[in-house]
Amino acid sequence: MKGKAIVAMSGGVDSSLAAALMAEQGWEAVGVTLKLMPREDTGFGCCGSPADISDAKRVCEALGIAHYTLNLSDIFEDKVIKPFIDAYLNAQTPNPCVECNRSLKFGTLLGLAEAWGASCVATGHYARVEEGRLYRAKDAAKDQTYFLYSLTPRELAKVCFPIGGLEKSEVRAKARALGLKTADKAESQEICFVPRRDYRGFLEERAGAGRAAFSPGPIKDTAGRELGRHEGLASYTVGQRKGLGLTAPEPRYVVGLEPETNTLVVGGGKDVSCPSFTAGAVSWTTAAPREPFRASVRIRHRHAPAEAVLTVEGSGEVGVRFDEPQRAVTPGQAAVFYRGDEVLGGGTICRATTGGNR
């Protein structure tokens, strides 16, 4: 036996197989499902819905391992949902999955795992850890390192991603071969706590419909000419093209949200591209570099990382200058720094030089 490993199980196929593989590799695997929403009646596929908890339990029973449900809804509310709402109210586009990984899975859960005498926390994320360093998953289309950059060296020494070396199709095939009941379960990809993808409705319900971020205002071009009306800045994100209600010969994109004047600024393709930005709340998977260095930078999930020069400022923020300007650098989203397949670290996009909140 290699010791105890806590496996975070959502009730999906990936974490089910992760649990099976940990047990197979000789760990004393213990399944844990986080219940993140306080209400018992959340019918949609949020982590910890009754159906998902029951799937995770059935898988653990089949594997002959223990399973516990942990109610972390208070911490989830504090660390993920509230900041998510605040970001939209402040004209940013948040990334709740990064925060959930940081605060819950590799924050509280890792802390609890250590208190419980486990030497590792395993999840069904598509990513690889080798000798304490974080690498992209074998399945490039499924790679989730964009949401995992905040892992610190101390945390990386204690996490396992047992399916990171597998393609999604291999995961399903192995799960089927093992007879796991979640082998063919559909994926959930939306933000888990927002029902029916209606994040605007969710925000209004939670923050109150009277907030400034929900009031209509002008849509202007970069020269300040009014082109139409928007439905409240919370409904828009930098780089967005659809749903603007504008008729123009050229495609128009959101290039900035200006909460001070409740203005949505749109522009052409050129206006939405951005040569440089600053990332705050930066975290490193290894020692923080002192000198400027080259890395490829991913500014949203599935964005092909773009070559850039990175400079760590005295404040800890990182200046990123792309070789080629990139479309839609969105404040609030994560910027993740790669060298080849390795994740060096990342941060939150706070200021973009062109586009974004100028």
Binding site: E40, Y68, K79, G107, T108, L112, E114, A115, W116
Partner: protein
């Protein structure tokens, strides 16, 4: 495995299993059948009824009605009693009285009756979880159909002044029910001395198997049937669960015979547990200092989520609980602790330890040895437990 959660359920005693086995093999006759095979199982059921009646000091054996569990007994008593009183008085008696610390079986049934037009008064409890009989006197009246107050609380173990509460209720012509699921077999129960009309107990809390319970129904008290059928003298339909009833009877007989000895045993264990537990900083004992069960103790632990502690101890092979097993995993603080005025944050850090027939001092030692490091480690989890 160290099992210290006897308030959740108990192991079946070997003597109980031995008593049951013949009725899972050859003794399968329906006790309602005419032929000898039925007569034999009928005798077994009636012997068991006598054993249960003896534990409760019933005046008549046939005051014991067998059910499938404690919850069914509660539901039959409350719903059957409330509707009978309502019908008998052409709707004049339509008020119910209970406490805020009842088991979910009772709370759920009261809520249903409220939806059907009954009115419900909940009496307050003090910080020990005790109901003040004066507060009952204040709400009782000619409209009261039924009063239901539990005998011993399943979380903190506080024992209510049932005799006083029952006397007040019956003086007003109201039925009095008590849920004694948690106390039966642990403290003496004398239905005549308590003066109750209805009293619910459960098999698996006193070393009988799951799936059998009983309701004491004082002779003369009528109930609207829940499960219809002619069995149990037209009070509860369904062919008798013979083997389990036999086991239940045997378990009651053993409990009655050992009541004094086990009370002394529990007091020893409890003193040891409390002495050791309260040495851990940031802990306190809940429940009434004297009027309480001897077999359990309920603690608050600051800076720790009770569920996290339960997992930590389980991973060490020790079974205890953060609250009633029925509400495990709920994010809400226990309604019992809330009613007792325990701060919501502190209520999250709850641990209930309960022992029984098989518990030893060595079990308590093992628990105490594991507790302190587990609590200290959990308190260090960043933004973790609380």
């Amino acid at each position: 495995m160290i099992y210290l959660d006897h308030n959740a359920t108990t192991p079946v005693r070997p003597e109980v299993l031995d008593a049951m086995l013949p009725f899972l093999k050859d003794g399968f006759g329906n006790p309602n059948s005419v032929y000898l095979a039925g007569q034999r199982t009928r005798k077994a059921v009636e012997d068991a009824r006598r054993q249960v009646a003896a534990l409760l000091n019933c005046k008549h054996e046939d005051e014991v009605v067998f059910t499938s569990c404690g919850s069914e007994s509660d539901v039959l008593a409350i719903s059957g009693g409330a509707w009978q009183a309502f019908d008998d008085t052409k709707g004049a008696r339509r008020r119910l009285v209970s406490s805020p610390i009842e088991h979910d079986a009772v709370r759920g049934q009261l809520t249903l009756l409220k939806r059907r037009g009954f009115e419900l008064d909940l009496l307050a409890v003090d910080r020990h979880g005790l109901v003040d009989p004066g507060s009952l006197a204040a709400v009782l009246g000619p409209q009261t159909a039924l009063v239901s107050v539990m005998h011993a609380n399943n979380e903190v173990g506080t024992i209510q002044p049932i005799a006083q509460l029952a006397a007040l209720s019956r003086a007003q012509g109201a039925l009095f029910h008590t849920d004694a699921v948690q106390s039966a077999g642990k403290v003496p129960i004398d239905v005549q001395g308590l003066g109750v009309d209805l009293l619910a107990i459960s098999g698996h809390k006193l070393n009988a198997p799951k799936g059998v319970g009983a309701l004491y129904v004082r002779r003369g008290v009528r109930l609207v049937q829940g499960i219809t059928g002619h069995q149990e003298k037209n009070r509860r339909g369904g062919t008798e669960n013979v083997a389990s009833i036999v086991g239940f009877g045997k378990a009651c007989e053993l409990a009655a015979a050992e009541l004094d000895a086990s009370a002394r045993h529990y007091e020893t264990l409890r003193a040891k547990l409390i002495g050791g537990f309260l040495q851990i900083p940031g802990t306190r004992l809940n429940g009434h200092p004297e009027e309480r069960l001897a077999n359990c103790a309920h603690f608050s632990i600051s800076g720790v989520d009770g569920h996290h502690l339960v997992v930590a101890l389980d991973l060490e092979g020790i079974c205890v609980s953060a609250g009633p097993a029925c509400s495990s995993g709920s994010s809400l603080p226990s309604h019992v602790l809330t009613a007792m005025g325990v701060d919501a944050k502190l209520a999250t850090g709850s641990l209930r330890v309960s022992f029984g027939w098989s518990s030893t001092e060595a079990d308590i030692d093992r628990l105490l040895a594991a507790l302190r490091p587990a609590i200290e480690k959990l308190r260090r989890v960043p933004a973790g437990s609380l």
